[in-house]
Protein backbone atom coordinates (compact mmCIF):
# COMPACT_ATOMS: atom_id res chain seq x y z
CA UNK A 1 0.00 0.00 0.00
CA UNK A 2 2.74 2.50 0.91
CA UNK A 3 4.79 4.07 -1.86
CA UNK A 4 8.58 3.74 -1.79
CA UNK A 5 9.96 7.22 -2.31
CA UNK A 6 13.67 8.01 -2.75
CA UNK A 7 15.22 10.99 -0.98
CA UNK A 8 18.58 12.06 -2.35
CA UNK A 9 20.87 14.59 -0.70
CA UNK A 10 22.08 17.16 -3.25
CA UNK A 11 24.09 20.34 -3.15
CA UNK A 12 22.53 23.47 -4.56
CA UNK A 13 24.83 23.65 -7.51
CA UNK A 14 24.26 23.93 -11.19
CA UNK A 15 24.28 20.56 -12.94
CA UNK A 16 23.61 18.39 -9.92
CA UNK A 17 19.98 17.71 -10.80
CA UNK A 18 21.07 16.77 -14.29
CA UNK A 19 23.74 14.42 -12.86
CA UNK A 20 21.29 12.57 -10.63
CA UNK A 21 18.56 12.19 -13.20
CA UNK A 22 21.02 11.09 -15.87
CA UNK A 23 21.96 8.11 -13.72
CA UNK A 24 18.32 7.01 -13.88
CA UNK A 25 17.99 7.87 -17.57
CA UNK A 26 21.01 5.77 -18.52
CA UNK A 27 19.42 2.80 -16.82
CA UNK A 28 15.97 3.21 -18.33
CA UNK A 29 14.29 4.12 -15.06
CA UNK A 30 11.19 6.26 -15.42
CA UNK A 31 10.54 9.06 -12.97
CA UNK A 32 6.91 9.17 -11.80
CA UNK A 33 7.28 12.27 -9.67
CA UNK A 34 10.01 14.66 -8.71
CA UNK A 35 10.24 17.47 -6.18
CA UNK A 36 13.07 19.43 -4.60
CA UNK A 37 13.09 20.93 -1.12
CA UNK A 38 15.48 23.81 -1.08
CA UNK A 39 17.84 24.78 1.72
CA UNK A 40 20.54 27.44 1.59
CA UNK A 41 23.32 25.35 0.17
CA UNK A 42 21.81 21.93 -0.13
CA UNK A 43 18.50 20.37 -0.76
CA UNK A 44 16.56 17.14 -0.81
CA UNK A 45 15.49 15.65 -4.07
CA UNK A 46 12.46 13.40 -3.67
CA UNK A 47 11.58 11.07 -6.48
CA UNK A 48 9.21 8.23 -7.13
CA UNK A 49 10.30 5.89 -9.90
CA UNK A 50 8.95 2.78 -11.55
CA UNK A 51 11.64 0.68 -9.84
CA UNK A 52 12.55 2.15 -6.43
CA UNK A 53 15.07 -0.45 -5.19
CA UNK A 54 17.01 -0.60 -8.43
CA UNK A 55 17.01 3.20 -8.66
CA UNK A 56 18.30 3.49 -5.09
CA UNK A 57 21.00 0.93 -5.75
CA UNK A 58 22.16 2.66 -8.94
CA UNK A 59 22.33 6.04 -7.22
CA UNK A 60 24.25 4.59 -4.30
CA UNK A 61 26.71 3.02 -6.69
CA UNK A 62 27.31 6.47 -8.11
CA UNK A 63 28.06 7.71 -4.61
CA UNK A 64 24.80 9.44 -3.76
CA UNK A 65 23.32 9.21 -0.32
CA UNK A 66 19.84 7.79 -0.75
CA UNK A 67 17.07 7.01 1.66
CA UNK A 68 14.03 4.96 0.78
CA UNK A 69 11.06 6.08 2.78
CA UNK A 70 7.37 5.28 2.74
CA UNK A 71 4.80 7.81 1.69
CA UNK A 72 1.06 7.58 1.33
CA UNK A 73 -0.73 8.30 -1.97
CA UNK A 74 -4.35 9.34 -1.92
CA UNK A 75 -6.87 10.44 -4.53
CA UNK A 76 -9.24 13.01 -3.06
CA UNK A 77 -12.28 14.12 -5.02
CA UNK A 78 -11.83 17.33 -7.01
CA UNK A 79 -14.23 19.62 -5.12
CA UNK A 80 -14.12 22.37 -2.48
CA UNK A 81 -13.48 21.22 1.09
CA UNK A 82 -11.90 17.86 0.35
CA UNK A 83 -8.41 18.79 1.53
CA UNK A 84 -9.73 20.61 4.58
CA UNK A 85 -11.68 17.52 5.51
CA UNK A 86 -8.63 15.31 5.13
CA UNK A 87 -6.39 17.50 7.28
CA UNK A 88 -9.01 17.94 9.96
CA UNK A 89 -9.54 14.19 10.16
CA UNK A 90 -5.78 13.50 10.33
CA UNK A 91 -5.30 16.15 12.99
CA UNK A 92 -8.12 14.76 15.11
CA UNK A 93 -6.55 11.32 14.84
CA UNK A 94 -3.29 12.76 16.22
CA UNK A 95 -1.38 12.38 12.97
CA UNK A 96 1.21 14.96 11.85
CA UNK A 97 1.78 15.79 8.21
CA UNK A 98 5.50 16.31 7.45
CA UNK A 99 5.24 17.27 3.79
CA UNK A 100 2.91 17.06 0.83
CA UNK A 101 3.14 17.24 -2.90
CA UNK A 102 0.88 16.29 -5.71
CA UNK A 103 1.62 14.31 -8.80
CA UNK A 104 -0.21 14.00 -12.07
CA UNK A 105 -0.76 10.68 -13.65
CA UNK A 106 -1.87 11.73 -17.17
CA UNK A 107 -3.31 8.40 -18.10
CA UNK A 108 -5.25 8.10 -14.95
CA UNK A 109 -8.64 9.80 -14.85
CA UNK A 110 -8.94 13.50 -14.00
CA UNK A 111 -8.13 13.61 -10.28
CA UNK A 112 -4.66 14.56 -9.04
CA UNK A 113 -2.80 12.18 -6.75
CA UNK A 114 -1.61 13.63 -3.43
CA UNK A 115 1.54 12.29 -1.80
CA UNK A 116 1.67 12.61 1.97
CA UNK A 117 4.43 12.07 4.47
CA UNK A 118 2.77 11.58 7.82
CA UNK A 119 3.86 10.56 11.29
CA UNK A 120 1.85 7.34 11.06
CA UNK A 121 0.97 6.03 7.63
CA UNK A 122 -0.94 2.96 8.79
CA UNK A 123 -3.23 5.03 10.93
CA UNK A 124 -3.53 7.74 8.24
CA UNK A 125 -4.62 5.12 5.68
CA UNK A 126 -7.25 3.93 8.13
CA UNK A 127 -8.53 7.50 8.57
CA UNK A 128 -8.70 7.92 4.79
CA UNK A 129 -10.80 4.79 4.51
CA UNK A 130 -13.14 6.09 7.22
CA UNK A 131 -13.73 9.41 5.44
CA UNK A 132 -14.03 7.80 2.03
CA UNK A 133 -10.80 9.01 0.39
CA UNK A 134 -9.25 6.36 -1.89
CA UNK A 135 -5.70 5.27 -1.06
CA UNK A 136 -3.66 4.46 -4.17
CA UNK A 137 -1.85 1.14 -4.27
CA UNK A 138 1.92 0.99 -4.66
CA UNK A 139 1.84 -0.79 -8.03
CA UNK A 140 -0.54 1.75 -9.52
CA UNK A 141 1.96 4.54 -8.86
CA UNK A 142 5.00 2.71 -10.19
CA UNK A 143 3.35 1.58 -13.41
CA UNK A 144 1.02 3.47 -15.65
CA UNK A 145 -1.00 2.57 -18.69
CA UNK A 146 1.57 4.03 -21.10
CA UNK A 147 4.14 1.54 -19.89
CA UNK A 148 1.75 -1.34 -20.30
CA UNK A 149 1.00 -0.35 -23.87
CA UNK A 150 4.72 -0.12 -24.63
CA UNK A 151 5.47 -3.57 -23.33
Amino acid sequence: MLIKQLSVFIQNQRGHLADVTEVLARNGINIRSITVTEGHEFGILRIITDDPYRAAHLLEEEGYLVKISNVLAIEPADKPGTMAGIFRALSEAGIDVRYIYSIIRPTHGKVPTIILKTSDHEKAAQVMKEIGVPVVEEEEIYTCENDQEDR
Partner: protein, 430 residues
Protein backbone atom coordinates in the same frame (compact mmCIF):
# COMPACT_ATOMS: atom_id res chain seq x y z
CA UNK B 1 51.54 -7.76 30.75
CA UNK B 2 54.06 -5.01 31.49
CA UNK B 3 57.61 -5.63 30.27
CA UNK B 4 59.54 -3.29 32.54
CA UNK B 5 59.04 -2.03 36.05
CA UNK B 6 60.22 1.37 34.80
CA UNK B 7 56.92 1.78 32.98
CA UNK B 8 55.01 1.85 36.27
CA UNK B 9 57.23 4.07 38.46
CA UNK B 10 55.75 7.08 40.26
CA UNK B 11 56.05 10.27 38.19
CA UNK B 12 58.70 11.81 40.47
CA UNK B 13 60.86 8.74 40.03
CA UNK B 14 60.48 8.82 36.22
CA UNK B 15 61.44 12.50 36.24
CA UNK B 16 64.44 11.82 38.45
CA UNK B 17 65.69 9.23 35.93
CA UNK B 18 65.00 11.62 33.06
CA UNK B 19 67.00 14.42 34.64
CA UNK B 20 69.95 12.13 35.32
CA UNK B 21 69.91 10.84 31.72
CA UNK B 22 69.37 14.29 30.23
CA UNK B 23 72.42 15.69 32.04
CA UNK B 24 74.60 12.85 30.77
CA UNK B 25 73.34 13.28 27.21
CA UNK B 26 73.96 17.03 27.17
CA UNK B 27 77.48 16.43 28.45
CA UNK B 28 78.16 13.84 25.73
CA UNK B 29 76.76 16.09 23.02
CA UNK B 30 78.75 19.11 24.22
CA UNK B 31 81.97 17.18 24.56
CA UNK B 32 81.83 15.07 21.38
CA UNK B 33 79.65 16.83 18.79
CA UNK B 34 81.15 20.07 17.39
CA UNK B 35 77.71 21.15 16.10
CA UNK B 36 76.28 21.24 19.64
CA UNK B 37 79.37 22.66 21.32
CA UNK B 38 79.35 25.55 18.88
CA UNK B 39 75.62 26.17 19.22
CA UNK B 40 75.66 26.07 23.00
CA UNK B 41 78.67 28.36 23.18
CA UNK B 42 76.86 30.86 20.98
CA UNK B 43 73.94 30.72 23.41
CA UNK B 44 76.26 31.06 26.42
CA UNK B 45 75.14 27.68 27.67
CA UNK B 46 77.20 25.03 29.48
CA UNK B 47 76.19 21.43 30.34
CA UNK B 48 76.33 22.44 34.04
CA UNK B 49 73.44 24.86 33.42
CA UNK B 50 71.05 21.92 33.15
CA UNK B 51 69.94 21.40 36.74
CA UNK B 52 66.30 20.52 36.51
CA UNK B 53 64.09 18.86 33.93
CA UNK B 54 62.51 22.10 32.72
CA UNK B 55 66.02 23.38 31.88
CA UNK B 56 65.70 21.30 28.72
CA UNK B 57 64.01 24.43 27.35
CA UNK B 58 67.35 26.23 27.42
CA UNK B 59 68.81 23.79 24.89
CA UNK B 60 68.89 24.44 21.14
CA UNK B 61 66.50 22.62 18.81
CA UNK B 62 67.76 20.09 16.27
CA UNK B 63 66.14 19.67 12.85
CA UNK B 64 66.39 17.17 10.04
CA UNK B 65 68.35 19.80 8.11
CA UNK B 66 71.04 19.77 10.81
CA UNK B 67 71.49 16.05 10.20
CA UNK B 68 71.50 16.49 6.43
CA UNK B 69 74.10 19.22 6.47
CA UNK B 70 76.34 17.07 8.68
CA UNK B 71 76.01 14.09 6.32
CA UNK B 72 76.97 11.36 6.86
CA UNK B 73 78.54 11.14 10.35
CA UNK B 74 79.05 14.75 11.41
CA UNK B 75 76.62 14.53 14.33
CA UNK B 76 77.98 11.26 15.69
CA UNK B 77 79.42 11.42 19.20
CA UNK B 78 81.53 8.26 18.98
CA UNK B 79 84.33 7.06 16.69
CA UNK B 80 83.49 4.47 13.98
CA UNK B 81 84.90 1.55 15.98
CA UNK B 82 82.12 2.03 18.55
CA UNK B 83 79.36 1.80 15.93
CA UNK B 84 77.80 -1.63 15.47
CA UNK B 85 74.92 -0.69 13.15
CA UNK B 86 74.00 1.97 10.62
CA UNK B 87 70.57 2.86 9.30
CA UNK B 88 69.31 5.71 7.15
CA UNK B 89 66.01 7.31 6.36
CA UNK B 90 64.91 7.51 2.78
CA UNK B 91 65.67 10.96 1.51
CA UNK B 92 63.56 11.58 -1.57
CA UNK B 93 65.76 14.55 -2.38
CA UNK B 94 69.35 15.20 -1.39
CA UNK B 95 71.19 13.32 1.32
CA UNK B 96 69.47 10.74 3.48
CA UNK B 97 69.76 11.17 7.24
CA UNK B 98 72.19 8.61 8.62
CA UNK B 99 71.96 7.17 12.10
CA UNK B 100 74.35 4.92 14.03
CA UNK B 101 74.10 2.69 17.09
CA UNK B 102 76.62 1.57 19.69
CA UNK B 103 76.27 -1.78 21.43
CA UNK B 104 74.53 -0.04 24.31
CA UNK B 105 72.19 1.78 21.89
CA UNK B 106 71.23 -1.56 20.38
CA UNK B 107 70.40 -2.96 23.83
CA UNK B 108 68.21 0.05 24.61
CA UNK B 109 66.47 -0.26 21.26
CA UNK B 110 65.59 -3.91 21.91
CA UNK B 111 64.32 -2.96 25.36
CA UNK B 112 62.02 -0.24 23.96
CA UNK B 113 60.61 -2.58 21.29
CA UNK B 114 60.10 -5.35 23.84
CA UNK B 115 58.01 -2.89 25.88
CA UNK B 116 55.77 -1.87 23.00
CA UNK B 117 55.08 -5.32 21.62
CA UNK B 118 54.33 -6.55 25.16
CA UNK B 119 51.98 -3.58 25.57
CA UNK B 120 50.07 -4.75 22.49
CA UNK B 121 49.79 -8.26 23.98
CA UNK B 122 52.64 -10.11 22.24
CA UNK B 123 54.32 -12.89 24.24
CA UNK B 124 57.02 -15.50 23.65
CA UNK B 125 54.30 -17.92 22.51
CA UNK B 126 53.60 -15.77 19.44
CA UNK B 127 54.83 -16.10 15.87
CA UNK B 128 55.49 -12.68 14.41
CA UNK B 129 55.38 -12.04 10.68
CA UNK B 130 57.42 -8.95 9.75
CA UNK B 131 56.29 -7.31 6.53
CA UNK B 132 58.49 -4.21 6.82
CA UNK B 133 61.27 -4.09 4.25
CA UNK B 134 64.65 -5.17 5.61
CA UNK B 135 67.35 -2.69 4.75
CA UNK B 136 68.49 0.78 5.72
CA UNK B 137 65.00 1.56 7.00
CA UNK B 138 64.78 0.99 10.78
CA UNK B 139 61.34 -0.65 10.90
CA UNK B 140 62.11 -4.30 10.15
CA UNK B 141 65.34 -4.70 12.12
CA UNK B 142 63.99 -2.68 15.02
CA UNK B 143 60.91 -4.85 15.53
CA UNK B 144 62.86 -8.00 14.71
CA UNK B 145 65.39 -7.57 17.53
CA UNK B 146 62.81 -6.53 20.09
CA UNK B 147 60.51 -9.45 19.28
CA UNK B 148 63.46 -11.82 19.67
CA UNK B 149 64.15 -10.30 23.06
CA UNK B 150 60.56 -11.08 24.07
CA UNK B 151 61.06 -14.61 22.76
CA UNK B 152 58.50 -14.57 19.97
CA UNK B 153 59.21 -16.61 16.81
CA UNK B 154 60.20 -14.09 14.18
CA UNK B 155 59.41 -14.60 10.49
CA UNK B 156 61.59 -12.05 8.63
CA UNK B 157 59.39 -11.94 5.55
CA UNK B 158 60.31 -8.40 4.42
CA UNK B 159 58.10 -6.49 1.99
CA UNK B 160 56.68 -7.33 -1.42
CA UNK B 161 55.47 -10.58 -2.98
CA UNK B 162 52.12 -10.19 -1.29
CA UNK B 163 50.56 -13.52 -2.30
CA UNK B 164 53.54 -15.39 -0.95
CA UNK B 165 53.27 -13.42 2.28
CA UNK B 166 49.71 -14.67 2.73
CA UNK B 167 50.75 -18.26 2.10
CA UNK B 168 53.63 -18.06 4.60
CA UNK B 169 51.44 -16.36 7.21
CA UNK B 170 48.84 -19.07 6.80
CA UNK B 171 51.23 -22.04 6.70
CA UNK B 172 53.43 -20.79 9.57
CA UNK B 173 50.38 -19.89 11.66
CA UNK B 174 51.53 -16.32 12.29
CA UNK B 175 49.76 -14.77 15.28
CA UNK B 176 51.30 -11.30 15.08
CA UNK B 177 51.52 -9.03 12.05
CA UNK B 178 54.16 -6.30 11.89
CA UNK B 179 54.13 -3.67 9.15
CA UNK B 180 52.67 -0.43 7.95
CA UNK B 181 48.90 -0.10 8.29
CA UNK B 182 48.47 0.56 4.58
CA UNK B 183 50.42 -2.54 3.58
CA UNK B 184 48.43 -4.57 6.11
CA UNK B 185 45.22 -3.45 4.41
CA UNK B 186 46.71 -4.46 1.09
CA UNK B 187 47.55 -7.89 2.55
CA UNK B 188 43.94 -8.25 3.65
CA UNK B 189 42.63 -7.37 0.21
CA UNK B 190 45.00 -9.81 -1.44
CA UNK B 191 43.98 -12.58 0.97
CA UNK B 192 40.37 -11.95 0.02
CA UNK B 193 41.27 -12.10 -3.68
CA UNK B 194 42.83 -15.47 -2.97
CA UNK B 195 39.49 -16.62 -1.58
CA UNK B 196 40.52 -16.41 2.07
CA UNK B 197 38.82 -14.69 4.96
CA UNK B 198 41.71 -13.00 6.83
CA UNK B 199 39.78 -13.13 10.10
CA UNK B 200 39.10 -16.87 9.84
CA UNK B 201 41.80 -18.45 7.68
CA UNK B 202 44.73 -16.67 9.33
CA UNK B 203 45.59 -17.13 13.00
CA UNK B 204 46.56 -13.48 13.56
CA UNK B 205 45.51 -12.04 16.90
CA UNK B 206 47.67 -8.92 17.29
CA UNK B 207 48.91 -6.29 14.86
CA UNK B 208 51.70 -3.82 15.66
CA UNK B 209 51.57 -1.14 13.02
CA UNK B 210 53.89 1.77 12.45
CA UNK B 211 56.18 3.47 10.00
CA UNK B 212 53.41 5.86 8.98
CA UNK B 213 50.50 7.48 10.71
CA UNK B 214 47.10 5.88 10.68
CA UNK B 215 43.64 7.12 11.43
CA UNK B 216 41.23 5.63 13.94
CA UNK B 217 39.09 4.47 11.01
CA UNK B 218 42.06 2.56 9.58
CA UNK B 219 42.71 0.93 12.94
CA UNK B 220 39.11 -0.19 13.17
CA UNK B 221 39.24 -1.57 9.64
CA UNK B 222 42.41 -3.54 10.43
CA UNK B 223 40.96 -4.86 13.67
CA UNK B 224 37.79 -5.98 11.95
CA UNK B 225 39.28 -7.41 8.76
CA UNK B 226 41.94 -9.52 10.46
CA UNK B 227 40.02 -10.09 13.70
CA UNK B 228 42.96 -8.72 15.69
CA UNK B 229 43.86 -6.22 18.36
CA UNK B 230 45.41 -3.51 16.19
CA UNK B 231 47.94 -1.29 17.93
CA UNK B 232 50.00 1.57 16.62
CA UNK B 233 53.54 2.48 17.54
CA UNK B 234 55.62 5.56 16.98
CA UNK B 235 59.20 6.34 16.21
CA UNK B 236 61.54 7.74 13.63
CA UNK B 237 65.02 6.73 12.62
CA UNK B 238 66.60 9.96 13.88
CA UNK B 239 65.37 9.21 17.39
CA UNK B 240 66.10 5.45 17.34
CA UNK B 241 63.62 3.93 14.93
CA UNK B 242 60.38 2.33 16.11
CA UNK B 243 60.29 2.09 19.88
CA UNK B 244 59.68 5.64 21.05
CA UNK B 245 56.05 4.94 21.96
CA UNK B 246 53.33 2.34 21.56
CA UNK B 247 49.66 1.72 22.27
CA UNK B 248 48.55 -0.48 25.15
CA UNK B 249 45.30 -2.47 25.10
CA UNK B 250 43.43 0.52 26.58
CA UNK B 251 43.96 2.39 23.28
CA UNK B 252 44.30 5.60 25.25
CA UNK B 253 47.33 6.95 23.42
CA UNK B 254 50.88 5.72 22.88
CA UNK B 255 53.01 5.20 26.00
CA UNK B 256 56.42 6.84 25.66
CA UNK B 257 59.49 5.05 27.00
CA UNK B 258 60.26 8.09 29.09
CA UNK B 259 63.49 6.86 30.64
CA UNK B 260 64.87 6.93 27.09
CA UNK B 261 62.96 9.84 25.58
CA UNK B 262 62.11 13.23 27.01
CA UNK B 263 59.06 14.62 25.22
CA UNK B 264 57.85 18.20 24.94
CA UNK B 265 55.08 19.88 22.96
CA UNK B 266 55.83 23.26 21.46
CA UNK B 267 54.08 25.91 19.45
CA UNK B 268 55.66 25.25 16.05
CA UNK B 269 55.74 28.96 15.23
CA UNK B 270 57.09 30.51 18.43
CA UNK B 271 58.97 27.48 19.77
CA UNK B 272 57.34 28.03 23.19
CA UNK B 273 56.66 24.93 25.28
CA UNK B 274 52.93 24.28 25.67
CA UNK B 275 51.21 22.93 28.82
CA UNK B 276 50.33 19.22 29.10
CA UNK B 277 47.30 18.24 27.06
CA UNK B 278 47.69 20.98 24.46
CA UNK B 279 48.22 20.18 20.81
CA UNK B 280 51.41 21.21 19.08
CA UNK B 281 54.67 19.91 17.64
CA UNK B 282 56.32 16.96 19.36
CA UNK B 283 59.93 17.61 20.33
CA UNK B 284 61.96 14.66 21.59
CA UNK B 285 65.33 14.50 23.28
CA UNK B 286 66.61 10.92 23.27
CA UNK B 287 68.36 10.76 26.65
CA UNK B 288 70.21 7.46 26.52
CA UNK B 289 71.79 7.55 23.09
CA UNK B 290 75.54 7.30 22.73
CA UNK B 291 76.19 7.24 18.99
CA UNK B 292 73.84 10.06 18.04
CA UNK B 293 72.75 12.16 21.02
CA UNK B 294 70.26 14.66 19.60
CA UNK B 295 68.99 17.60 21.63
CA UNK B 296 65.35 18.64 21.29
CA UNK B 297 64.71 17.03 17.93
CA UNK B 298 61.80 18.66 16.13
CA UNK B 299 59.69 15.80 14.80
CA UNK B 300 57.27 18.06 12.88
CA UNK B 301 54.55 15.69 14.11
CA UNK B 302 51.47 17.18 15.70
CA UNK B 303 50.19 15.56 18.87
CA UNK B 304 49.52 16.17 22.57
CA UNK B 305 50.92 14.62 25.77
CA UNK B 306 48.92 13.19 28.66
CA UNK B 307 50.45 12.39 32.03
CA UNK B 308 47.57 10.86 34.00
CA UNK B 309 48.19 7.18 34.95
CA UNK B 310 46.69 4.76 32.43
CA UNK B 311 44.15 2.07 33.31
CA UNK B 312 46.72 -0.49 32.10
CA UNK B 313 48.88 0.28 35.13
CA UNK B 314 51.57 2.26 33.33
CA UNK B 315 52.51 5.71 34.55
CA UNK B 316 54.47 6.78 31.48
CA UNK B 317 53.21 9.72 29.44
CA UNK B 318 50.93 8.97 26.53
CA UNK B 319 51.00 10.78 23.21
CA UNK B 320 47.86 11.09 21.12
CA UNK B 321 47.73 9.70 17.59
CA UNK B 322 49.74 11.86 15.22
CA UNK B 323 47.31 14.41 13.89
CA UNK B 324 49.40 15.68 11.00
CA UNK B 325 52.65 17.46 10.30
CA UNK B 326 53.63 21.02 11.16
CA UNK B 327 54.17 21.46 7.43
CA UNK B 328 50.37 21.11 7.18
CA UNK B 329 49.62 23.90 9.65
CA UNK B 330 47.46 26.72 8.35
CA UNK B 331 47.57 30.24 9.69
CA UNK B 332 44.12 31.73 9.27
CA UNK B 333 44.14 35.45 10.06
CA UNK B 334 46.77 34.89 12.74
CA UNK B 335 45.21 31.76 14.23
CA UNK B 336 47.04 28.42 13.98
CA UNK B 337 44.75 25.76 12.56
CA UNK B 338 45.73 22.14 12.08
CA UNK B 339 43.77 20.06 9.59
CA UNK B 340 43.88 17.35 12.24
CA UNK B 341 41.78 19.47 14.60
CA UNK B 342 39.17 19.81 11.88
CA UNK B 343 39.31 16.08 11.25
CA UNK B 344 38.83 15.39 14.93
CA UNK B 345 35.74 17.58 15.10
CA UNK B 346 34.23 15.92 12.03
CA UNK B 347 35.07 12.48 13.36
CA UNK B 348 33.12 13.24 16.51
CA UNK B 349 29.95 14.22 14.68
CA UNK B 350 27.48 11.52 13.87
CA UNK B 351 26.25 11.48 10.30
CA UNK B 352 29.46 12.94 8.85
CA UNK B 353 31.95 10.84 6.90
CA UNK B 354 35.71 10.63 7.26
CA UNK B 355 36.49 12.45 4.03
CA UNK B 356 36.63 16.21 4.01
CA UNK B 357 38.23 19.06 2.18
CA UNK B 358 39.58 22.32 3.52
CA UNK B 359 39.85 25.31 1.21
CA UNK B 360 41.62 28.51 2.20
CA UNK B 361 41.23 31.68 0.15
CA UNK B 362 42.01 35.34 0.59
CA UNK B 363 39.24 37.90 0.31
CA UNK B 364 40.78 41.34 0.49
CA UNK B 365 43.05 41.16 3.53
CA UNK B 366 41.07 38.41 5.22
CA UNK B 367 41.74 34.70 5.15
CA UNK B 368 38.63 32.62 4.52
CA UNK B 369 38.47 28.96 5.36
CA UNK B 370 35.77 26.62 4.22
CA UNK B 371 35.26 22.97 5.04
CA UNK B 372 33.45 20.51 2.82
CA UNK B 373 32.03 17.67 4.88
CA UNK B 374 30.24 14.63 3.54
CA UNK B 375 26.80 13.66 4.73
CA UNK B 376 26.72 9.90 5.22
CA UNK B 377 23.68 9.33 7.40
CA UNK B 378 20.82 7.90 5.37
CA UNK B 379 18.37 8.45 8.16
CA UNK B 380 18.43 12.22 8.22
CA UNK B 381 18.40 13.02 4.53
CA UNK B 382 14.63 13.03 4.19
CA UNK B 383 14.44 15.93 6.65
CA UNK B 384 15.68 19.39 5.75
CA UNK B 385 15.51 20.53 9.36
CA UNK B 386 17.69 17.61 10.49
CA UNK B 387 20.23 18.52 7.81
CA UNK B 388 20.21 22.14 8.88
CA UNK B 389 20.68 21.13 12.53
CA UNK B 390 23.68 19.04 11.51
CA UNK B 391 25.10 21.97 9.56
CA UNK B 392 24.74 24.26 12.57
CA UNK B 393 26.23 21.67 14.93
CA UNK B 394 29.38 21.35 12.83
CA UNK B 395 29.78 25.12 12.68
CA UNK B 396 29.47 25.46 16.45
CA UNK B 397 31.89 22.61 17.20
CA UNK B 398 34.45 24.05 14.79
CA UNK B 399 34.21 27.42 16.50
CA UNK B 400 34.69 25.85 19.92
CA UNK B 401 37.82 23.97 18.86
CA UNK B 402 39.40 26.35 16.35
CA UNK B 403 38.30 29.70 17.71
CA UNK B 404 37.33 30.81 14.24
CA UNK B 405 34.20 30.43 12.12
CA UNK B 406 34.90 28.35 9.04
CA UNK B 407 32.23 28.17 6.38
CA UNK B 408 30.76 24.68 6.46
CA UNK B 409 29.53 23.04 3.26
CA UNK B 410 27.60 19.82 3.46
CA UNK B 411 28.43 17.97 0.28
CA UNK B 412 27.43 14.83 -1.54
CA UNK B 413 29.80 12.03 -0.64
CA UNK B 414 30.97 11.37 -4.17
CA UNK B 415 32.29 14.89 -4.69
CA UNK B 416 35.30 14.36 -2.40
CA UNK B 417 38.31 12.39 -3.53
CA UNK B 418 38.72 9.02 -1.88
CA UNK B 419 41.57 8.38 0.58
CA UNK B 420 44.37 10.10 -1.22
CA UNK B 421 46.24 11.13 1.89
CA UNK B 422 46.12 14.27 3.93
CA UNK B 423 47.92 16.51 1.48
CA UNK B 424 45.04 16.72 -0.95
CA UNK B 425 42.64 17.48 1.85
CA UNK B 426 43.86 21.04 2.08
CA UNK B 427 43.68 23.45 -0.83
CA UNK B 428 45.39 26.73 -0.02
CA UNK B 429 44.56 29.27 -2.71
CA UNK B 430 46.19 32.27 -1.02
Amino acid sequence: MIWSLTETLPREEIERIQLKNLKKTVKRAYKNVPHYRQKMKQMGLKPEDINELSDVRLLPFTTKDDLRSNYPFGMFAVPPEKIVRYHASSGTTGNPTVVGYTKKDMENWKECIARLVTMAGVTKRDTAHISFGYGLFTGAFGLHQGLERVGAGVVPMSSGNTRKQIKIMKDFGATVLIGTPSYALHLAETAEEMGLDPAVDLKLRVGCFGGEGSTEAMREKLAETFGIFASENYGMSELMGPGVAGECTQLSGMHISEDHFLAEIIDPVTGEVLPAGETGELVITPITKHALPLLRYRTKDITSLHYEPCACGRTTARMAKIGGRTDDMLIISGVNVFPSQIEEVLYGIEGIGSNYQITVTKQGFLDKISIDAEVVDHEIIDSLSALEDLHRQIGESMHTVLGIHPKINLVEAKTLKRSEGKAQRVIDLR
